[in-house]
Amino acid sequence: MTRVLAISAGLSVPSSTRLLTDRIAESVRRVAGPGTEVEVVDLRPFAHALADHLLTGFASGELSELIERVRHADGLVMVTPVFSASYSGLFKTFVDVLEPGLLEGKPVLVAATAGTARHSLVLDHALRPLFSYLRAVVVPTGVFAATDDFADAGLSQRVDQAAGELAGLLGGRRALHVVRDEFEDPTPFEERLRPVR
């Protein structure tokens, strides 16, 4: 079973960010077929746990389970509202608590919502650089939806286009940079002592 996690940083209930996330999730389900399971997760219930993580340095209970689900997901859909010309603080905080290397080689579809189309470049100015830094594989088509776009057939086309691109990457071999697990397979200490004479 291939697993896709669609994460929405929308805050209001109902939320247009969640609405867009649901549409993308549905499209991925349709394009990828029955072998793919797509789950949608709201970050809102994790807001307190995320703030605690910033202060204590570790993830508690359900947040730690969510991070494990990200680790084991074959692909991600990451959707944020635009706040002050960028991704929201909640969205970024979630990305911040993912340990280094967790997203390496993972296919990611980026999407954002905003009140106005003037923010549409947020995908290319903020989200792509963020996930490039984390060495995720960001699909070529991002999905941006201003309020008006929810009445525009063009949004569905972009959703399907992006979903198709994500689905295309799901089965593929991930070009993973393999990091040695020092707990499972420790580097023999003699090797570490080599520079010392």
Partner: protein, 354 residues
Amino acid sequence: MQFGIFTVGDVTTDPTTGRTPSEHERIKAQVEIAKKAEEVGLDVVAVGQHHNPPFVASSPTTTMAYIAAQTERIVLSTSTTLITTTDPVRIAEDYGTLQHLTDGRMDLMLGRGNTGPVYPWFGKDIREGINLAIENYALLHRLWREDVVDWEGRFRTPLQGFTATPRPLDGVPPFVWHGSIRSPEIAEQAAYYGDGFFHNHIFWPASHTQQMVALYRRRFEHYGHGTADQAIVGLGGQFFMRRNSQDAVREFRPYFDNAPVYGHGPSLEDFTAQTPLTVGSPQEVVERTLGFRDYVGDYQRQLFLLDHAGLPLKTVLEQLDLLGEILPDLRAGFAEGRPAHVPDAPTHIAAVAA
């Protein structure tokens, strides 16, 4: 099994009174606390090393020697000695001298330090932290075991024909513990040398402790120092005790809520569930502490952090009285079912006798 206390030597405002102790008060308080620790029957007192405010603990061997001169039995240790930014030659000399002055009543725990700017103040780089710990300890290990050392590494000026003085008391180098929260390289290092491994076991979920200790034990056996359950393990711990549980929670909550490190974050109730912190009655502290064995196996040293978060000296001394009261129960509990082949914590006297 040894029981004791460890401190980081922080100067923190008491959140219930707004009063901040002076550096002088804090340094003197560490001595009072150590003397009290001996009085209530504890085995070990460990002091920190830091080179930035709000800490006063920049010179651990000075403090240790002063405490040793006023006590008779308690073992002096560190929590931790910075192996990254302290010249290993100075560590060999300072702790070597301390070993003689205390008649071997000391050991030390090495740590890396996690404050980035401290490294450049001593000409080092935190990104080399692991490599510094490995190289500096490799030198320290030789300085205490070889009378004349020729040495060359990446981080320190070379040595030719160098003898670290004084030579170890009775020819037995001070026992070394290696402390680390999450770096497997350090557990590996402790295992390689057959030294002790200490996990601070506070502020973090027990799963970190379990993973690190398991690695250390496995590799200790791999390197031929004994079976995994004979590896030398120390743990930290943190409690606040009152005779009745509700009083402990009520009194400790403002300190918890405002504490450095975890304050203004999770609730006291969440944090006690998520980490080894116990706030409650003596019986609750005994039960929780005896439970540590369930995930690390039988171990050798248990140290508690008592003097932090701005707790006044009087309160810390009361905590020590209570710890003294439960000590017989802790000793009896840990002795129960402990296999005969599991060693006690290493001491100088035992090493000389061996």
